[in-house]
């Protein structure tokens, strides 16, 4: 025996691994995984799996909704580029836009166009919406209301990945006198409040918390 052996009441020597600790497969208390490691794993999940796991517990729900976590997830998932495809459908007098999300890497790995059609999933569809533009996975949609005297354009944001649609963010009116509306859309990632800026009106603030701070909808009315 080794010279250090002088504790007669100590556990048995020559413990085999099986005696020394519960077998991996035997029912035993689950080893706790530290929160920061859980966050690390969750940040690698795709949006659909991630949102489902909000149902695990209150603390997971809180973590997954946390703006800081959302930001980390956004940066990691930006490596997995998705294309958002817009397609307009005309049914009689009305037009609606359908959005589909398609992972770019499958496009690159597979040039067969027929496979694209079958893989595409329909994420979002809403009647009467026109797409203004998209930026970092968010889409800005425009809704038009018109009567005989004026036209009103209102805006919403949608996130095809989470299938969420914002409330109306603001609107502009145009007289029926031959104006055409052109618009584009961008936003800045930053702090937690959303601001909608119309280039010709006061900024409107949206109170819901997000991870971007300024959204610009650029409108231009031109005479035709």
């Amino acid at each position: 025996n080794s010279p250090g052996h002088n504790f007669p009441e100590a556990p048995m020597m020559f413990n085999s691994p099986d005696n020394a600790r519960p077998k991996i497969n035997s029912p035993s208390p689950v080893t706790a995984v530290p929160d920061e490691l859980i966050a690390e794993v969750l940040s690698l999940l795709k949006v659909k799996s991630l949102l489902r796991l909000k149902c695990v517990s209150k603390s997971w729900n809180k973590l997954i909704s946390d703006p800081f976590f959302v930001k980390i997830h956004f940066h990691k998932s930006s490596l997995n580029t998705d294309l958002t495809l817009f397609s307009a459908h005309h049914t009689g007098k009305s037009t609606y836009t359908q959005l589909t999300v398609y992972p770019v890497h499958t496009l690159l790995e597979n040039n067969s166009t027929t496979s694209i059609v079958t893989v595409i999933r329909r994420f979002f569809s809403n009647e009467y919406h026109q797409v203004v533009g998209s930026c970092n996975g968010l889409c800005c949609l425009m809704e038009e209301y018109s009567n005989t005297e004026f036209r009103e354009f209102s805006f919403r944001l949608c996130n095809p990945a989470t299938k969420s649609l914002s409330h109306k963010l603001g609107f502009v009116e145009a007289q029926w006198n031959g104006w055409l509306l052109l618009s584009s859309f961008c936003f800045q990632l930053g702090s937690l409040a959303v601001q909608i800026n119309f280039c010709h009106s006061k900024p409107l603030t949206l109170l819901r918390r997000h991870t971007w701070d300024s959204i610009f909808v650029l409108l231009k009315l031109i005479k035709y």
Binding site: M13, F14, P17, V56, S57
Partner: protein, 176 residues
């Protein structure tokens, strides 16, 4: 590689040897099995290396009470490949193929304890891939998370997120 130790943890946890650049490092698992590794392997394990550095290389036997003799060989294998620059997608696929989900979790915790960034990142991705299509109940059991929602709260949340519940794998208790 492993040899049984004829003494107790208390007495073997720190044994001084003559400092020598070529001395092997003895890693002692939580169940008292000694694994002798090259110093370069120890360098991959930040926790071990900082322990060696703190003692100016005089101490070459490192107790790792949180790591079992079942997990340690995998960690050493990964570190050996890493030093040789042979971490390939093929190696990684083979490496985890033989591990069940519980073993992956044990290794993940070991990599965290030993502070092996590469192994930790790799296993994070493995776990993410393996739970991606699992049910909420499975994930709770896997991470030992207690469901603290009221039945009403949970039902409401599930209804809001109904579209995320398609394509979930059925739970398979035997897979572990």
């Amino acid at each position: 590689m492993a040899e049984e130790v004829s003494s107790q943890m208390n007495s073997l946890s720190i044994s001084e040897t003559n400092p020598s650049s070529s001395a092997t490092i003895s890693l002692v698992s939580g169940d008292d099995i000694v694994f002798k590794v090259e110093p370069t392997i120890a360098k991959e394990m930040e926790t071990v290396q900082s322990f060696i550095d703190e003692t100016d290389g005089k101490i070459t036997t490192i107790p790792l009470p949180n790591i079992s003799s079942h997990d340690l060989p995998y960690v050493i294998e990964y570190c050996e490949k890493s030093i040789a620059g042979k971490i390939t997608k093929e190696f990684e696929a083979e490496f985890v193929k033989k591990l069940n989900n519980e073993e992956v979790k044990e290794l993940f915790l070991a990599a965290n304890y030993l502070n092996i960034k590469k192994l930790l990142d790799f296993l994070s991705q493995v776990i993410a891939d393996r739970i991606a299509n699992k049910s909420v109940e499975y994930v709770r059991r896997y991470f030992g998370i207690e469901n603290d929602f009221t039945p009403e709260e949970e039902a409401k949340l599930r209804e809001e997120l109904a579209w995320t519940f398609t394509g979930v794998d059925p739970d398979d208790e035997d897979e572990n």
